[in-house]
């Protein structure tokens, strides 16, 4: 298990494109968008908060998390299944389930790194707050787990290696939209706002923003994330194929 972890970590580091998309792209967007002058001023639409305080860092973090969970994770698993890597492993004493666990650990690791980079980046560049409510960490972990369960479901359903990241993107962009990446949730029309409330991405951003600002997350947001996690992981477990 340790060896698989070491080898797979190396393989992920060699794939510089995915590292670029997961960490560099959200950080770059955080810096560039945050430098638009009006976004650094208190905004009555956001309840007097600045756009760069929690809205921007939380949506950029969701961008990083969805990239990890919805494209990188399913792409690797679908490729390994397609290439017969998992099949070959099933002929050895080590179960291919260890490979699955290792991928989850590595992707969680990348998510944590992205979070740390974005929190520090927002603090240093825009003077945004550091998440101050203790529930931020559980919210972050819960949200990441829910997104990964969707990623596992994509890996289970993708007919081949190439379609997995494509399906991931098709789910990722509407999710980012409803989570408020382009229109903050506060300024959404009521219909969009309602969809956003149930879109998994929406409650994740909301709960992260709340805890980022030092407030407790709403039970409604947490409930939607938990239900999503339970539903998608149950489906993924039922539908996952090793070969």
């Amino acid at each position: 298990m340790k060896k698989i972890l070491a080898v797979e970590t190396k393989l992920h580091l060699r794939d510089s494109w995915s590292m670029l998309f997961i960490i560099a792209l959200p950080l770059l967007l955080l810096i560039v968008i945050g430098n638009i002058p009006d976004l650094g001023k208190p905004n009555p639409d956001l309840g007097g908060e600045r756009f760069v305080d929690t809205q921007l860092p939380a949506t950029m973090l969701l961008l990083a998390l969805t990239t990890v969970a919805l494209t990188v994770l399913p792409a690797v698993l679908a490729t390994y299944r397609h290439q017969g890597v998992l099949r070959r492993m099933s002929t050895t004493p080590v179960s291919p389930a260890s490979m699955l666990s290792v991928q989850l650990i590595i992707n969680l690791g990348m998510a944590v790194i992205a979070a740390v980079v974005l929190i520090l980046g927002a603090r240093l560049v825009h003077g945004s707050p550091i998440p101050s409510h203790w529930a931020f960490v559980p919210v972050f972990l819960l949200g990441t787990a829910a997104l990964m369960s969707i990623g596992l479901l994509i890996a289970a359903l993708a007919p081949n290696a190439k379609s997995a990241p494509l399906i991931g993107n098709v789910i990722m962009f509407p999710m980012l939209f409803f989570a408020g990446m382009w229109i903050p949730r506060e300024t959404m029309p009521p219909v969009l706002r309602t969809i956003s409330d149930y879109s998994v991405g929406g409650p994740i951003v909301q709960a992260m923003r709340d805890t980022w600002a030092g407030e407790a997350p709403s039970l409604g947001s947490l409930a939607v994330i938990v239900v999503g996690l339970a539903l998608f992981s149950a489906l993924a477990v039922r539908l996952f194929r090793w070969q």
Partner: protein, 313 residues
Amino acid sequence: MHPSGFCAAAGISSVYSMKVIEVTNLHKRYGTHVAVDDVSFSVAEGEIFGILGPNGAGKTTTVECLSGLREPDRGTIKIAGADDRDSLKRIMGVQLQSAELPEKLKVWEALDLYASFYGRTSGDLLERVGLTEKRDTYFGKLSGGQKQRLSIALALVGGPRIAVLDELTTGLDPQARRDTWELIEQVRNDGVTIVLVTHFMEEAERLCDRLALIDAGRVVATDTPSGLVAMVDDEQRLRFRPSGPFSEEILRALPEVTEVSRSGEQVVVTGTGNLPHAVTLALAAEGVIPTDLRIEQATLDDAFLALTGRKLA
């Protein structure tokens, strides 16, 4: 017959008599498609046993059942020393058809990783498969032959008693194919029993001690390569250019000869037994030397054709 597991426990080591694999009435279907209908064979310790048949005959499904990747619908598979799936995976190394590795995995890393699955080290395996110089190369940068040799190394890294190799030379150039054959022979010399799946007649003839011909999910015949050939036809054909004129009657008079004909300068003699010897001797008595002498014998292809009414390749 002893159950083979008992023999192993008792330490009886009579090579070629102890059965390490015994497959009986194997049946496997996918939906309505019957992949394996009725397959039975046994493999003795230290043997290179071939499973030969055209594409779609059920060879791969058979070895997948053998290596525990699929559950047969009917029939039994007994493997000496393997009482459950875990022990099976320890004593059997499997090289699967078209199973790849991650592109950016280096050769030594792959070997090191798979060795760790068995709690072993890779030892001199890299050297034995001739990949020492490629140890730092990415899997994606290897040639077809090198990928196959690495794949064989991964099947051997657990120190198995049985190695199952599926279509291992498909897509290789003739040189790479011959190198791979040599490697297989070395592996057998180290005492590993080998089950070789192939649709190459030449490969089966060169490597296998015994083989099962499989067609449409059934075993058509099991024998040594020469036994299978003899089953259908023991006729041989001799072609040569005589160095001078001679009467064909002196050949027709030989008991070994059944037919003599000429096509242009070439003489074609058909017959049985020790035909080349009889013919050259008779010609020598007339002072005639057969030049460009060629001997044509029935092949496994012919045997397969005769047994199934179908061509192998």
